[in-house]
């Protein structure tokens, strides 16, 4: 049973981690908490359902569709909700938070109107493939999710530290003004960041749909809040922190269900937020500097 639960925990944790990566990327560069990230993830899942279920597309095409749609959403998000606030005089640092809450409400309710309130099944033959060892059944999707999360983390780390775009990104994250003086096209970098983060959200959406065979408009909120908890746990803007934080949350939720009271499952993330913020606001892996920034 323990082994099975650990597998469950790692699967869930990997999904949390992928969602947290999107949060952490945007926060790292823009210093903004994108409250709409969970809903972008949800839209990605719905695109997957629509593509495979209604349009009958193959899975790989559904993946591309989800990435494209969420990327466009990311661009729109940056263009219409974040950019107008940037560098504007008298705009409080809370404005982007409130503005992205607006986007999240909009997307959730739009999905309600378009797709209806209920769960949509996400049936693909791919998600039926499983390996049975003894009494334990592992689905291929679970393995894929874990691998994708690791790949995304490694990919992002390399991209950030080795490539030119990544370096520009980090320069922008350090200081917007200095970066633009140094000749970094900060506008482009910011768009790139939000788009990449959103696309990662879209990938996560499809993976969740496949793994749990359920997609609903409300899933964005609950996953989004978990993602938020993880980046606080792992340190804002920290890629490795997001990964480790995701796994910690996934495993502790699963272990709580296995050995404790499943009713408090959702509370773990929030208790974690509170405890971490009070004891170590920079997160487990964060440095003190990021906390000074508002």
């Amino acid at each position: 049973m323990l082994l099975e639960q650990i597998i469950n925990g790692i699967t869930l944790g990997s999904i949390y981690a992928i969602i947290a990566l999107g949060f952490t990327l945007v926060f790292g560069v823009l210093g903004i908490i994108n409250m709409a990230h969970g809903e972008i993830f949800m839209v990605g899942a719905f695109v997957g359902v629509t593509a495979t279920g209604i349009l009958g597309w193959p899975l790989w095409l559904a993946f591309i569709a989800a990435i494209v749609v969420t990327s466009i959403l990311g661009y729109l998000l940056e263009r219409f909700t974040l950019r107008p606030l940037r560098g504007k005089k008298g705009v409080s640092h809370l404005a982007p938070l409130i503005s992205t809450i607006g986007v999240s409400i909009l997307l959730e309710n739009l999905s309600h109107h378009i797709f209806g309130a209920g769960n949509k099944p996400f049936n693909t033959s791919f998600s039926q493939i499983s390996i049975t060892i003894g009494s334990i059944t592992i689905y291929l999707v679970q393995i894929v999710i874990f691998i994708i999360s690791i790949l995304l983390m490694i990919g992002l780390t390399i991209w950030l530290s080795k490539t030119k775009a990544g370096k520009a990104l980090r320069a922008t994250a350090d200081n917007l003004e200095t970066a633009s003086i140094l000749g970094v096209d900060t506008k482009k970098i910011i768009i790139l960041t939000v788009v990449v983060a959103s696309a990662i959200g879209g990938i996560a959406g499809i993976l969740v749909g496949m793994a749990f065979n359920s997609v609903s408009p409300q899933m964005g909120l609950s996953m989004g809040l978990k993602g938020l908890a993880i980046i606080i746990l792992g340190g804002m803007g920290n890629v490795k922190g997001a990964m480790v934080g995701g796994l910690i949350l996934g495993l502790s939720e699963t272990m709580l269900v296995a050995y404790g009271d499943s009713g408090y499952r959702d509370a773990i993330a929030f208790i974690m937020i509170i405890v971490i913020l009070l004891l170590r606001p920079q997160g487990i892996f964060g440095s003190k500097v990021s906390q000074e920034r508002r």
């Binding site: 309130a117 769960n119 099944p121 749990f212 359920s214 499952r265």
Partner: protein, 385 residues
């Protein structure tokens, strides 16, 4: 700064005065105790509070459709003439209460149907009861609804009727001794259903291996199911709405849990099959309404409904349809639209033939009727043998 202070209060008082002034309008009520017209037709106005906008709008829509169809059929019979005043509650207790107040401010309203959710009903019914207006729930299945007051009734089959029936039949056939339970603990309907399940299981002397919960919006039930699987139950009692319930069954089957599930009212929907596919096989529910029944009353209702609204009816539509017939019957017996007489007649309802069967009310105003136990087999609901 003092100026601002004063301005603030003056603005506020203007706002409030406007509001009070607004109260003046639109409340010219005529004395309408008895509306027996020349030709002996009794007419009455009923208020309807339904969940018409928001996440659960589908429920409210089914209910109002069922009522409208019943209204048409009843008025066509020519014995009574019913007018419906429909208000939206948006699934929220405070808005449901607003809607109730709006309806009650019209003195010519004889009785109320709704609201849709139990959480709304708990807020509305005490108020309506105190005003001496009869109210009936058609979809509120949680324990303790008719007990709110003398004027409170329901024709929805409560979980306390449906669930024990389903569990008993399931245990009879499978010979189950050990049951595991899972329910949504942040929803009043599923929580209410769970309370009944737990009570029933204890009364029947079943061993409860574990009790698991989930929350709204959750999509991963693997942890709970793994735990359930390891306790080796013979039967799973799942108090879930079909949305979550179907996903739970799907994940359970994938994990290799192949025992039957017993669900409550909220689990009973063809949607469960649409979502979970083959994984839904083995679900056992008790319901007053069996859509695929060959009973001519039901097939006629299904046809009429589909002709009128372009989709298949569900349990909520059928219960609402019968509810208005119960009201019409009480109205006939009361002989007038007087609230007091209507309430007395309503409470005396006995063995009224509706499309779902024979209706009677017990002493507190709860429904007495038979339920059918169904199971999903080969992707279809069939009667459980």
């Amino acid at each position: 700064m003092r100026g601002l202070n004063k301005k603030l209060f003056s603005i506020l008082s203007i706002i409030m005065l406007l509001l009070l002034a607004a109260c003046g309008g639109g409340n010219t009520t005529t004395d309408s105790n008895s509306n027996k017209s020349e030709d002996g037709v009794i007419s009455a106005k009923f208020g309807v509070i339904a969940y018409l906008t928001g996440a659960g709008a589908a429920y409210g829509e089914a209910i109002t459709n069922g009522l409208k169809l019943a209204q048409k059929d009843i008025n066509a019979l020519g014995e009574v003439n019913i007018e419906l005043v429909i208000e939206d509650s948006a699934g929220k207790a405070d808005q449901a209460l607003n809607a109730a107040q709006k309806i009650m401010s019209d003195d010519s309203i004889t009785a109320i149907i709704g609201p849709t959710l139990s959480t709304e009903f708990f807020a509305v019914a005490p108020e309506v009861d105190l005003n001496g207006i009869p109210i009936m729930g058609t979809s509120t299945t949680v324990d303790g609804i008719p007990e709110i007051g003398d004027y409170v009734f329901r024709n929805a089959v409560p979980e306390s009727l449906a669930i024990p029936a389903a569990i008993k039949k399931a245990v009879e056939r499978t010979g189950a001794k050990k049951v595991a339970m899972i329910y949504g603990n942040d929803d009043a309907l599923t929580k209410g259903g769970f309370d009944v399940m737990e009570r029933t299981a204890k009364e029947m002397g079943l061993e409860i291996t574990t009790i698991e919960t989930y929350q709204e919006g959750q999509s991963d039930y693997n942890a709970q199911l793994t735990k359930i699987k390891n306790t080796n139950p013979d039967l799973i009692l799942a108090s879930a709405l079909y949305n979550e319930g179907a996903v739970i069954m799907d994940q359970a089957r994938k994990m290799g849990i192949n025992i039957p599930f017993v669900g409550g009212n909220g689990f009973n929907s063809p949607q469960a099959i649409a979502i979970a596919g083959d994984a839904a096989n083995g679900l056992i529910v008790a319901t007053p309404y069996f859509g695929d029944s060959t009973d001519p009353k039901i097939t006629k209702f299904n046809e009429d409904y589909e002709a009128e609204f372009g989709k298949k009816p569900d349990q909520f539509a059928a219960q609402a349809y019968d509810a208005l017939f119960i009201y019409a019957d009480a109205l006939k017996r009361a002989g007038s639209a007087d609230k007091e007489a209507f309430k007395e007649a309503l409470a005396a309802t006995k063995d009224l033939e509706g499309i779902l069967g024979k209706f009677s009310f017990d002493e507190v105003g709860d429904v007495i009727m038979d339920v059918t136990v169904l199971e999903i087999k080969d992707g279809k609901f069939i009667e459980f043998e």
